[in-house]
């Protein structure tokens, strides 16, 4: 039916005038092939140009369009309206993050946490190969050992699914730890010890109670919950090994 509509209830927040956010309702044309982001773009174009949100690629790659859709963190460019129609859809900014305006969250803490795990290849200073010797080769099995963790697009859906990030603001969180593990597992990397200072700390893996929802909502099947539990096992083995008399430093 060409004139069908769908209702979007969107959480709005104007820092200049509002003390706290409140819902605003919009009627949007319903198209079976529209994703939630299309409907939000339609509102911005036709109803209220001040509606503020992030998006870029519209194809599940850039990771910027994450919002709470009916209470679940989703990439709005990857959720079709037909999943909910004719019921209304509730759109909120990603949970557990401070809200800057409307659906835009403040990501600074996430950026700091991401940096803290040093998500880049680290080589021991004296073991860096000169450029002319070429690249560090890697076997398919070595690639497979970290590839899943490398698929992260930093969409932060996992943080919005994790109650620990809401309860403990210092928690380094799923994606950052998974990305740290991605480099720890990389055969070309030698930085595990440096990363362990952050990853094996109370604010990182030991704050995780394994709710597991981060892995459920992850659009790229990164399995950050798995990465965290595996880091726990490895850190525990480290600790026991450090007790052995012949490994004592």
């Amino acid at each position: 039916m060409p004139d069908e509509k769908i209702t979007l209830e969107i959480l709005r927040y104007h820092p200049e005038t509002d003390e706290e956010p409140s819902f605003q309702t919009f009627e949007v044309p319903y198209h079976e092939d529209w994703v939630v982001l299309d409907a939000i773009n339609w509102i911005k174009e036709h109803v209220d140009g001040t509606l503020t949100y992030r998006w870029s690629c519209r194809m599940g790659v850039c990771g910027s369009c994450g919002m709470m859709v009916n209470g679940t963190p989703r990439l709005t460019c990857a959720v079709f309206l037909n999943e909910f129609h004719p019921e209304p859809i509730k759109i909120e900014p990603l949970a557990y993050f401070p809200v800057e305006r409307d659906l835009v969250t403040v990501m600074d803490s996430f950026m700091e946490k991401l940096q803290s795990v040093k998500p880049w290849l680290i080589r021991n200073e004296d073991e860096e190969k000169p450029l002319e010797e070429g690249e560090y080769l890697q076997s398919p099995a070595e690639l497979a050992s970290y590839k899943q963790f490398s698929m992260c697009i930093n969409c932060m859906l996992c943080y919005a699914a994790c109650p620990v990030t809401g309860l403990e603001s210092e928690f380094v969180g799923p994606a950052a730890i998974a990305l740290g593990m991605r480099y720890n597992r990389d055969s070309r990397d030698q930085g595990r010890e440096q990363r362990q200072e952050v990853i094996a700390s109370h604010d990182a893996i030991w704050n995780c109670t394994f709710v597991g929802e981060c892995s459920v909502v992850c659009p790229k099947d990164v399995d950050p919950a798995g990465a965290i539990q595996q880091a726990k096992v490895e850190s525990t083995i480290d600790w026991y090994t450090s007790l052995l008399p012949w490994t004592k430093k």
């Binding site: 679940t72 403040v106 099995a141 497979a144 394994f210 709710v211 459920v216 595996q230 726990k232």
Partner: protein, 127 residues
């Protein structure tokens, strides 16, 4: 000027969705498992004190309230075991070259081990 709004974390956060509620039940299950372990230890100590003490202990459990309590404990023990068994593939990733051993095999090995130990215990107690 920026004036970010920080949403409060309600005390009832664990009631937000089914996944959180199930998580809380899983956490709570350890209390019941621990209680049952204590009960088992008491039983073992009574067994150590001779047949009479053991019989008395078993008799003292013979009332409907205890039965109800044990049904609840069993339900929580099952929830505890099943949820944790099913989570093992996330913790224990076994790789053979490029391939990962399938999750069902890792999780399934727990059930097989549980069955084998249970059958063994049953055989000892019965025999």
């Amino acid at each position: 000027m920026s004036k970010p709004y920080t949403p409060p974390m309600p005390l009832t956060w664990w009631n937000k969705n089914t996944a959180y509620r199930l998580f809380m039940l899983r956490e709570l299950s350890s209390v019941f498992v621990a209680l049952f372990v204590l009960e088992l230890l008491c039983f073992v100590s009574q067994v150590g004190q001779g047949e009479e003490a053991m019989d008395q202990f078993i008799k003292s459990l013979d009332n409907p309230l205890y039965l109800l309590y044990h049904v609840i404990v069993l339900a929580f023990a099952l929830l505890h075991s099943i949820t944790w068994f099913n989570l093992t593939p996330k913790v224990m990733v076994i790789r053979l070259g490029e391939e990962k051993v399938p999750d069902v095999l890792v999780a399934g090995s727990n059930y097989v081990a549980c069955l084998v130990v249970s059958l063994l215990l049953w055989w000892i107690v019965k025999g």
